[in-house]
Amino acid sequence: MKIPAMKALAAAGLIALANLAPAAAGTNMRAAAKLTEAECSACHMAFPAPFLPARSWKTIMNTLDNHFGEDASLDEASRAQIEAYLTANAADTGGNRQWMLRGVGENEYILRITEMPWWVREHSHEVSQRAWARAGSKSNCLACHRSAGRGGYDDD
């Protein structure tokens, strides 16, 4: 269970590892994956599609002008492509991360990965106060998972 998650996080092009679900009509999934990586990595790392359910991504992609306290709006063509990619590769679709949905109600719209029960569980132990302080924000995954690719977590 844990290994696929770690692999997904470890990959340099995190998104590239998500299963490329069959293309929705009119969407070139490979191009959409690249666009997602480029546009969604400007302010934080591009979060992997399998870490949230499709309904969460859909909501995020339709509220970009008020994105966690910022305007992250896109032109409509890019927005639609990214939404198609994220919703096709989400935890409950092509991303196949059923375990990440444990404890999430079917009508619950959790918009933060860091508020998903799986994430809270994984981070409730083992993470030192110092590591949180250094990261500055829970969303700053790379502050702690930078070395995941080399098989270790830098959590002192």
Binding site: A42, C43, H44, M45, D65, N66, G69, E70, D71, A72, S73, L74, A135, G136, S137, S139, N140, A143
Partner: protein, 136 residues
């Protein structure tokens, strides 16, 4: 006025056909300042640009009261987003690759002015800000 508008629309249509704005390297700070200033019929002002960029504003989102929230007061140094990611320096002298992609400049002016001011920046304000960032 109307004639100008028509001309602009035509340029726009041609640009769309040609797939422009192209990728990085299709413009420069100098070209953009000239374009924005012409559009606004104003002279770019380094002082006005500085005041706007360094000032605190209340019209936008509470999380981002100033351009310096992310770009910091030292524009020759690295800034950081609210999620902790580094932002390369904004001063042209410290980062010559700045303001060379017209689509990128347009996208971030739109987003960041809305976040900080609660509205888009005017062409005159964009000329002022780019003039200031080019003068550092």
């Amino acid at each position: 006025m109307k004639g100008n508008f028509r001309k602009l629309a035509l340029v726009g249509a041609l640009a769309a056909l040609a797939g422009w704005p192209a990728a990085a390297g299709d413009t420069s700070a100098r070209q953009l300042i000239a374009q924005f200033a012409a559009q606004a019929h104003t002279q770019p002002s380094v002082a006005r640009g500085k005041a706007l960029f360094m000032g605190r504003h209340t019209g936008g989102k509470p999380e981002t009261p100033s351009c310096t929230t992310c770009h910091t007061q030292n524009l020759r140094a690295t800034g950081h987003t609210r999620a902790g990611k580094a932002i390369e320096p904004m001063a042209l002298s410290a980062n010559p690759s700045r303001f060379t992609d017209s689509a990128k400049v347009a996208k971030w002016f739109r987003r960041n002015c809305k976040s900080v001011l609660g509205r888009e920046c005017t062409a005159g304000e964009k000329a002022d800000i780019l003039a200031w960032l080019s003068s550092l």
